[in-house]
């Protein structure tokens, strides 16, 4: 057993920390969030040059061959800087699906572009009615001799505005809630029949709704096998869930650190507010919450790396805990900052809003806790 990071991982962490402290200060981040694309494409190029976009891809695709630990290091540091550039949607979701299920042509065409920072991708999996359920899919694809016809709608697509390529989950057979019969397709965001409406979310990211009106797709647009997309989706979402939990951990650490610092400098009644025991105990609680999240994250990261059997359960547990502890941590951070915590000017509220959005990405606290309960407390299998 060993909880140490490798030398390479330590260097990776340091290089991201340095980048954020020098080139991605909060004011810079604010400027980017107010720009029309919501991201800085130069920054993305820098990520490519520094090799960060290649981390999860295998060496024979031109990648670095990193694993879940490397990804979690990146995401944790990105969390601290509230990085807006679309690492999750482009590299982990879009790239992750191509990497795990793309055919040779798809891989050799797309992965180098991702690694070079020349392609923004997105994964369109949510629907108006689906809430958090990945397999609630009504978007339809019909097969014909020369390819496929895609019809339907996807909503709240992360990085939708900037993406030139999408991976869309669509039903090729079965009914709305069936796990079977879902397939994945590669779609150009500017293909005929694709309508895009983009809008901003409270954490600054630009997302889109896509309407697909009988969009023609070639035979080579299918990713993986027909009707067997659910497993691919579940796997990539599981990995991405661990990754954004690492991002959440980075945010939680910053919120705790900044709040502690503030409590030592803000004076009321002639004393630093951090001297009041009630606030001390609450900061002890948020400190413990952070440590608990870190432990469960490590458990999940190691589980992914070792492909352990209980991964499904652990990831549900992790996301439920991230949701619950996240609320506690940003709640206390705002409360202890008093009026200052309610301002747009201070970064505290922005960290809070990103945590709130992380809570809704791939399912919230209750959603994951219910899944956990269903896996753990099956009355019939216990009997």
């Amino acid at each position: 057993m060993n909880f140490d990071f490798t030398e390479e991982q330590v260097m990776l962490r340091e290089s991201i920390t340095r980048f954020i402290q020098e080139d991605y200060k909060f004011d810079e981040r604010r400027r980017i969030s107010k720009s029309s694309s919501g991201i800085d494409k130069e920054v993305w190029k820098t990520f490519a040059q520094l090799g960060w976009l290649s981390i999860p891809f295998s060496e024979n695709s031109g990648g670095f061959g990193g694993g879940p630990v490397d990804v979690s290091v990146i995401m944790e540091e990105f969390g601290k800087g509230l990085v807006l550039e679309p690492y999750l949607p482009t590299v982990l979701l879009f790239g992750g699906l191509i990497n795990s299920a793309g055919n040779e042509e798809q891989c050799s065409d797309l992965l180098p572009k991702i690694i070079e920072g020349d392609l923004f991708g997105a994964f369109a999996y949510l629907e108006r009615q689906s809430r958090y359920e990945l397999t609630d899919v009504m978007t339809k694809v019909e097969s014909h001799s020369e390819g496929f016809i895609l019809d339907g709608e996807k909503v709240v697509v992360l990085n939708g505005l900037n993406a030139s390529k999408l991976i869309v989950s669509a039903r090729t057979s079965g009914d709305q809630f069936d796990r079977e019969g879902i397939s994945l397709f590669l779609v150009s965001a500017d293909a005929d029949g694709v309508d895009r409406v983009s809008y901003q979310m409270m954490d600054g990211q630009m997302v889109s709704n896509f309407r697909f009106n009988n969009v023609s797709l070639g035979t080579n647009s299918l990713i993986g096998s027909l009707g067997e997309g659910s497993e691919l989706i579940e796997r990539v979402v599981r990995e991405a869930t661990v990754a954004i939990s690492a991002e959440a951990l980075g945010i939680m650490g910053e919120l705790n650190r900044k709040t502690l610092e503030y409590s030592k400098t803000r004076k009321q009644f002639g004393s630093a507010i951090g001297s009041f025991q009630v606030l001390q105990h609450r900061m002890v609680d948020t400190f413990m919450a952070y440590e608990q999240v870190k432990s469960l994250l490590y458990r999940a990261v190691c589980g992914l790396a070792e492909d352990s059997d209980d991964m499904e359960c652990i990831v549900h547990a992790l996301k439920a805990l991230v949701g619950k502890m996240g609320k506690q941590i940003f709640g206390e951070a705002i409360q202890i900052h008093g009026g200052m915590g309610i301002t747009d000017e201070l970064d505290i509220g922005h960290y809070a809003k990103r945590l709130m959005m992380i809570n809704t990405t791939f399912g919230g606290e209750d959603y994951h806790q219910e899944k956990f309960n269903n896996l753990r407390y099956d009355y019939h299998s216990l009997a």
Binding site: L126, R128, Q129, R131, Y132, E133, T135, D136, V155, V156, Q176, F177, V197, Y199, Q200, M201, M202, D203, N209, K267, Q268, F269, G270, F276, V278, L279, K327, G331, I334, Q335, G338, G339, G341, I342, T343, D344, E345, G349, A352, K353, M356, M357, T360, T361, G364, D366, Y367, Q369, E370
Partner: protein, 393 residues
């Protein structure tokens, strides 16, 4: 002990219900929803209440109150919330008005009270300062004696709606001798006076309601002093008593919870309505059970005030529990809105984006974080209970 309504109360309820449904129309509701028309909507609604004679139920009859029993006031609040109507702006009607009729002189009463009732002046509250939040009595904004004027220097912060205000009521320092509370005066200041500057503060919900108000050599006629110099702290504290009715916001929280329940019926996750989900049900019922109790706690306090009791630390209890319940319901709404809680957009219709309440849930939730901070933070309220009720030092 009897908690049923009399025949007269029931008739009163019908009257109130009818008034709300006819006077609060859809176009006014729409005006309230946009920030650009918000101020006009507030004023228009308050004028309609004034015309009906119901603008200030808590004021004494001789100054324009309604003379209602505590039951009637309860019914009025309950019906207002059920109709989805917000409370009136508190600064004039709930805060400075009562201070003026209790501690002001005849001239002040004659001038200011009718203007407050008719919503002719918009008031804001200038208490907090950058260095003086929870420890309000440490405030430093100075008012120096200059013959028949005071000269005011300093700055106030978190001043809600100062950008709309015609007048501000301020706590200012007129003496630095003795206890810090003993050198504070209560001053009314015309916002159009030279030397006042209002700087906007954008809040976490991306809106502008908060401000910093700077005073540089602002000359305020002494006739605008309330009561005696250096007694302002006493007046400000007694003002809190007038904020008490409805401070817990039970009626509004009840309505919000009901609303949440209806929305959760329509949200389907994996083929099952959210309202059927046991975890979600637990969240709802945790709140509803405490609300059932809090509603009666509020009634007990109201009844004790009506029979001449002086409400003390109970108001702290109402504030703590009330704001906790408000935040809990706001959190439930976020849960229901799922991804759509993040939507910031105002350019596209909710129909295009796919959800009609995500944005409003977000605004309410984010701004709602402030409810446990302003009006004396919940930590300060707990300190009050510990000291005043439990006798802890």
């Amino acid at each position: 002990m009897d908690t049923s309504f009399s025949e007269a109360d029931l008739l009163f309820r019908d009257e109130v219900k009818n008034f709300f449904s006819s006077a609060y129309d859809a176009s006014l509701q729409k005006q309230f929803e946009s920030f650009n028309t918000y101020k006009d909507a507030v004023i228009e609604w308050q004028k309609r209440l004034y015309k009906q004679g119901w603008i200030a139920p808590n004021w004494p009859v001789k100054y324009g109150g309604t003379g209602w029993s505590s039951t009637q006031k309860f019914i009025f609040e309950d019906e207002r919330a059920s109709a989805g109507i917000r409370e009136v702006m508190p600064f004039g009607l709930g805060m400075v008005g009562p201070v003026i009729y209790t501690f002001g002189n005849e001239k002040q009463k004659e001038h200011f009270l009718p203007r407050i009732l008719k919503s002719e002046d918009w008031w804001c509250q200038g208490y907090s300062e950058p260095g003086s939040g929870s420890d309000l009595a440490s405030l430093k904004t100075r008012a120096e004696d200059d013959g028949d004027h005071y000269v005011v220097n300093g700055s106030k912060i978190w001043t809600s709606f100062a950008q709309y205000a015609d007048w501000i009521f301020c706590l200012v320092r007129t003496s630095t001798e003795g206890k810090k509370q003993a050198g504070i005066s209560f001053l009314l200041i015309d916002m159009r006076t030279d030397g006042i500057k209002v700087n906007p503060i954008i809040s976490i919900d991306n809106h502008h309601s908060l401000n910093e108000v700077e005073f540089v050599d602002v000359r305020v006629p002494k006739e605008n002093l309330i009561g005696e110099e250096n007694k302002g702290w006493t007046y400000a504290k007694s003002l809190l008593a007038h904020e008490r009715t409805g401070i817990a916001g039970v009626a509004d929280t009840k309505r919000a919870l009901f609303n949440a329940q209806e929305l959760a019926r329509r949200e389907i996750n994996g083929g099952k309505a959210l309202l059927e989900n046991p975890l979600f049900q637990k969240r709802l019922s945790d709140i509803e059970i405490e609300l059932l109790a809090l509603e009666f706690t509020e009634l007990r306090v109201l009844a004790s005030v009506a029979s001449g009791g002086a409400p003390g630390a109970e108001s702290s209890l109402l504030k703590i529990k009330g704001t906790e319940m408000q935040q809990a319901v706001q959190e439930i709404m976020m849960e229901i809105a799922a991804h759509y809680q993040g939507v910031l957009d105002t350019e596209h219709s909710s129909e295009v984006i796919g959800h009609e309440f995500g944005s409003s849930a977000r605004r309410a939730y984010l701004y709602g974080r402030a409810a446990t901070i302003y009006g004396g933070s919940n930590e300060i309220q707990k300190n009050v209970i510990a000291k005043a009720v439990l006798g802890l030092e």
